[in-house]
Amino acid sequence: MSKLEAEDTDGKAIFGFWVYLMTDCVLFASLFAAYAVLHNNTFGGPSGSQLFSLPFVLTETLILLTSSFTCGLGVLSAYNGHKDKVVAWFSVTFLLGASFLAMELTEFSHLVHDGNSWTRSGFLSSFFTLVGTHGLHITVGLLWMVVLMLQVLRRGLGTSTVKRLTLFSLFWHFLDLVWIFIFTIVYLLGALKI
């Protein structure tokens, strides 16, 4: 395969992955719609403004944002062929992503421990479904990152590895994009009691 054809296949792969991301947006949109409909149905239980700690969520948000940035730096290093830098930046991304997930699970376990699990009210069902689906995507992303790092360490930075890193970076940036709306709609507007 000539270099040009190879590049075109890469372009198709990236485009195909982009289409997947857009359909994933539709999945999240339906969960957002369910949350928007149900967020006042607290069934006598606590509302968002009583449950959420904004400084905690801001920290989570900044951690995820930083991981998105370091992921981008990792991809830049991949284009420049610096294998060590790629491993370093993606390790930082992994640690930040893992701390984000740990914070999210901490929040969940506090809620469940205080009797505010998904069975408490329609509001909490939709909250756990929406935020949990995002957390599940993050978990998949973390696993994907481990696999990619093993590939980089074993095979080096070939065209296929660089392509996979590019696809992963799109996925990771996309998760940060979804989180902007979770942060705004669930937490910030929840605190404003909308």
């Binding site: 040009l4 075109d8 359909t23 949109a29 719609a33 940035f69 730096l73 830049l76 709609i185 605190a191």
Partner: protein
């Protein structure tokens, strides 16, 4: 007869991102996130104004990250990624606003008597 296959240059290829794009995108995203956070916690706005500010900042950050992190703006013609993106926005708008519209309408049309009957039925469960 030899056919000259036109050389197809990849159009979907992500334009090589630059360090500058990531740094600018990151800095703007931090400013917008912290700005939205302060708009809510400082109580300097009225509630309706705070909602407008927060939603506006979120949409701005959405655009910033699309351009600087997902490189949507660097695509050359034909812009297939942009096309699929616009289609997604349309579906999402129908889905979200349609759901809210239908559900609020159902809510509006539910009479107090129906609500009482419903709650009694639920209480028996």
């Amino acid at each position: 007869m030899t056919e000259h296959k036109p050389v197809i240059v990849s159009h979907h290829q992500v334009g090589r991102p630059t360090l500058k794009a990531y740094v600018v995108g990151y800095a703007l995203s931090i400013l917008l996130t912290v700005g939205a956070y302060l708009a809510v916690t400082h109580h300097s706005f009225q509630k309706s104004a705070a909602v407008t500010v927060v939603v506006g900042l979120a949409l701005t950050q959405f655009l910033v990250q699309l351009l600087f992190f997902l490189h949507l703006g660097t695509e050359t013609k034909p812009r297939w990624k942009l096309l699929v993106f616009m289609f997604m926005i349309m579906i999402v708008a129908i889905l979200v606003f349609g759901s809210l519209w239908i559900m609020s309408n159902l809510n509006y049309r539910m009479t107090p008597q129906q609500i009482n009957t419903y709650m009694q039925n639920q209480a028996g469960l």
